[in-house]
């Protein structure tokens, strides 16, 4: 946001896109020049670089660096998928201060689904052509390992085409503790029942100074990372997340991203990072204002730049809202996530985004930005659909 705009550049930051005019002509601000040249040479950024990117007054300059990286990795493609979230229960033993979803068993708003209710929800989304079921829930003593094993077996028997992306590391840690099993044994039993990949939830902010305050009872950073390491070692892919915009500082975000980067160097098992915008309403942290649009986009861009070894960056529209998620496609994101259907966790925290975006609307958000919508499955393989009326 300098008063005088630098002159157009002779050379652009990256090679021009083959399908669009080359427009990255604005020279990065002088105090980002060293970081920009690292980005161009595809060199790794440091902790200190991360802090500077968070502090730099020119958000759009940071965004342009991230956008260049995104273009190098993914060209004009923006991914989406057709999925459904199922949250079998909101009863939870843990009391994370940022959560509006978890309830005590006696709470009038507490609910528990039967296996049959889970199958019914899966049936309706299978009929709509979904490729993925995303299951996460509260930590409930009756929803134990055996309950989920039966649930997954039942789902795979009925809907073999639906990929089961289920159970955060926090839930795996809970089962391990309850059943006195190693993480690997829990994962092996769930995989035998039908689990195919893991979502990235429960990471929140790893740094103990923050984690102690917002989710003291939850599995700590080392355990979260160990569970993903184990899953990756078994050949499972997973995602990772970062919950921002509450009490954390930029240094905690950078620390978090670098811990994820270190594990990814080791295993290569993360497919995508999903930055999660904190929603204060109805939580124990409701006095906080929550992240602004500028912070949402800053986190998106810095994540793309620091996490150089995770292929995809998801603009999760459920938390950002469709408007900010669409703009995030210019700040490093290459994935808008899915159609979702019946999201409970964020909406209990006052999210005003719709619970479901029809495919046509997801595609429209993408094409308006001049990019190409591509439907993917959970493992980022393109989904080919026969167009309606194509015959044969």
């Amino acid at each position: 946001m300098s008063a005088a705009l630098p002159p157009p550049l002779a050379h652009s930051l990256t090679t021009p896109s083959s399908t669009g005019p080359a427009l990255e002509r604005l020279r990065p601000p002088a105090d980002l020049a060293d970081i920009a040249s690292k980005v161009v040479r595809q060199e790794r950024l440091s902790f200190d670089d991360g802090l500077r990117l968070f502090a730099h007054p020119d958000l759009l300059a940071v965004g342009r660096l991230a956008d260049a990286v995104r273009r190098r990795l993914h060209g004009d493609v923006v991914y989406y998928n057709i999925n459904r979230h199922i949250n079998p229960t909101n009863v939870c033993m843990q009391e994370c201060s940022f959560c509006a979803f978890g309830r005590k068993a006696a709470d009038p708003l507490a609910y528990e689904m039967s296996h049959q209710e889970v199958y019914e929800r899966a049936a309706s989304c299978a009929a709509q052509g979904a490729t993925e079921i995303h299951i996460v829930a509260g930590l409930h003593p009756l929803f134990d390992l055996a309950w989920y094993e039966e649930c997954f077996r039942g789902l795979k028997a009925r809907f073999p085409q639906l990929h089961l992306k289920c159970m955060t590391a926090v839930e795996i840690a809970y089962f391990a503790k309850m059943e006195r099993l190693a993480h690997r044994e829990v994962l092996e039993r769930l995989v035998a029942a039908g689990l195919e990949s893991m979502p990235g939830g429960g990471a929140e902010i790893f740094h103990p100074d923050v984690r102690r305050q917002i989710c003291d009872n939850k599995c700590d950073a080392d355990e979260w990372i160990e569970i993903h390491r184990t899953a990756h070692g078994m050949g499972l892919k997973s995602n990772c997340t970062m919950l921002y915009g509450h009490i954390e500082g930029p240094e905690h975000r950078v620390d978090h991203l670098l811990r994820l980067r270190a594990l990814q160097d080791e295993t290569g098992g993360f497919q995508a990072l999903i930055p999660l915008a904190f929603h204060p309403e109805n939580t124990a942290l409701s006095h906080l204002p929550g992240p602004t649009g500028m912070l949402d986009l800053r986190v998106m861009a810095v994540s793309r730049l620091l996490l150089d070894n995770v292929p995809h960056l998801k603009a999760y529209w459920i938390m950002l809202g469709p408007k900010t998620a669409q703009v995030a496609l210019s700040f490093g994101a290459d994935d808008l996530d899915g159609t979702v259907v019946e999201e409970r966790i964020v909406h209990m925290a006052g999210a005003t985004s719709p619970e479901e975006l029809p495919v046509a609307e997801l595609k429209r958000l993408i094409t308006e930005t001049g990019r190409v919508p591509v439907e993917r499955d959970t493992l980022y393989r393109r989904v080919q659909r026969v167009p309606v009326g194509a015959g044969a």
Partner: protein, 380 residues
């Protein structure tokens, strides 16, 4: 399966188009006046963040420094009775409709007293195009407010209202403006501009003031010393070239009169409107940010560009501060027109100031004329 012919390159860069864009980018960066063709090249083909940075630099040329202004105001929509039937409007009611209303002075007084108590400096006074109210009814309302609330500027009557009055009262619009001004009208809002191209207006607001009438009312108002804003509502049936044509028309009149203080734009909000059934989808935040940035670059003679957080929400509203916007507009203690179309973003003043500070700016309250109010003058 039939063989797919070898595809040509997805886009063959057109040398002419690209050179137009090159020149538009260079001229925008240098702060030079952009032609309609250059504006269109930017709107259609420039990268979003490049547009943002160019618009932000233009914002700094027009309004140097780290201040973002806003005004404590409220809308008073004295009637929703309207005989203009615009297809994009969810606020209007036919005469005699069970939900139609005309407010009394007492009802409006209560709203203005509340505004005055909060240190408010402007009332946005607009209403439907009522077929029966006489000029004396309006004059009485204006004189009453002027006398009772001397600190509150009356920002009232967009050009289509003035055009409507001229028709039903058989009076010259200059005469109406002069009488309103004498009764206490301080400035004109820029509403009803929609897209200032008659092809578009015929489709979405056939009975509303034409392009020439809208511009004519503004020219008359400016000549009387009544300053105004200008607006644009896009994202319905217009083409990108027609958005640019709109901006050029505003710019041309501004060259002549200098009476536009600010510009604001927003995309069409569909819900509950007849036009919403015809327009397949609203355009998104991406389109809004591009358009507001191009407006900042095209309107080189209008000093201020306002955010439209009422339609965009707090996140995109804040982000627009990086895309050429220097003013957060009004606090809108009451907003009836856009909220009738399903958009109901409402920001308490503290949150509005938090968004401005979080963006790295200092929030300051202003008057309609963009004078910054001293902090001591700001009621808590």
């Amino acid at each position: 399966m039939t063989a797919v012919p070898t595809a040509a390159p997805a886009t063959t860069p057109d040398a002419t188009l690209d050179s137009t864009l090159e020149s538009a980018l260079a001229r925008a960066a240098a702060g030079e006046r952009l032609s309609a063709q250059e504006g269109l090249a930017l709107l259609e083909r420039a990268d979003l963040l490049t547009l943002g940075s160019l618009a932000d630099a233009a914002r700094q040329r027009h309004n140097p420094g780290r201040t973002v202004t806003y005004i404590v105001d409220r809308n008073v929509n004295y009637t929703n009775v309207c005989v203009t039937y615009c297809s994009f409007c969810a606020f209007q009611r036919k005469p005699g409709h069970t939900e139609s209303y005309v407010q009394t002075l007492e009802q409006m007084d209560a709203r203005l007293a509340e505004l005055d108590g909060l240190g408010g400096r402007q009332v946005l006074l607009q209403g439907g195009h009522h077929p029966d109210l006489a000029i004396e009814w309006y004059e009485e309302m204006l004189r009453h407010f002027r006398a009772k609330f001397p600190r509150i500027n009356i920002h009232g009557f967009s050009p289509p209202e003035i055009t409507h009055f001229a028709e039903i009262w058989g009076l010259d619009r200059k005469e109406i403006l002069r009488r309103f001004q004498a009764a206490g009208l301080g400035s004109l809002p820029g509403g009803g501009a929609e897209i200032l191209v008659d092809r578009v207006r015929r489709q979405i607001a056939n009975l509303k003031a034409t392009t020439d009438e809208w511009l004519g009312v503004m020219e008359d108002a400016h000549a009387l010393g009544l300053s105004s804003s200008a607006t644009m509502m896009f994202g319905h049936v217009e083409t990108p070239a027609e958005r640019i044509e709109h901006l050029v028309r505003v710019r041309s009149l501004q060259d002549k009169t200098g009476g536009f203080r600010a510009f604001a734009c927003w995309n069409f909000q569909r819900e509950g409107t007849p036009l919403g059934k015809k327009v397949a989808a609203s355009t998104g935040a991406y389109d809004y940010l591009r358009t507001v940035a191009v407006a900042r670059l095209m309107l080189d003679n209008v000093r201020h560009v306002q955010a439209s957080w009422v339609t965009q929400g707090p996140k995109i509203g804040q982000l627009s501060l990086s895309f050429g916007v220097d003013d957060f507009g009004g606090t809108m203690l009451e907003e009836n027109v856009v909220s009738a179309a399903g958009t109901t973003y409402c920001l308490p003043i503290e949150q509005l100031e938090h968004l401005i500070r979080d963006a790295g700016y200092e929030p300051r309250r202003r008057t309609t004329g963009y004078e910054i109010l001293p902090r001591t003058d700001v009621a808590a």
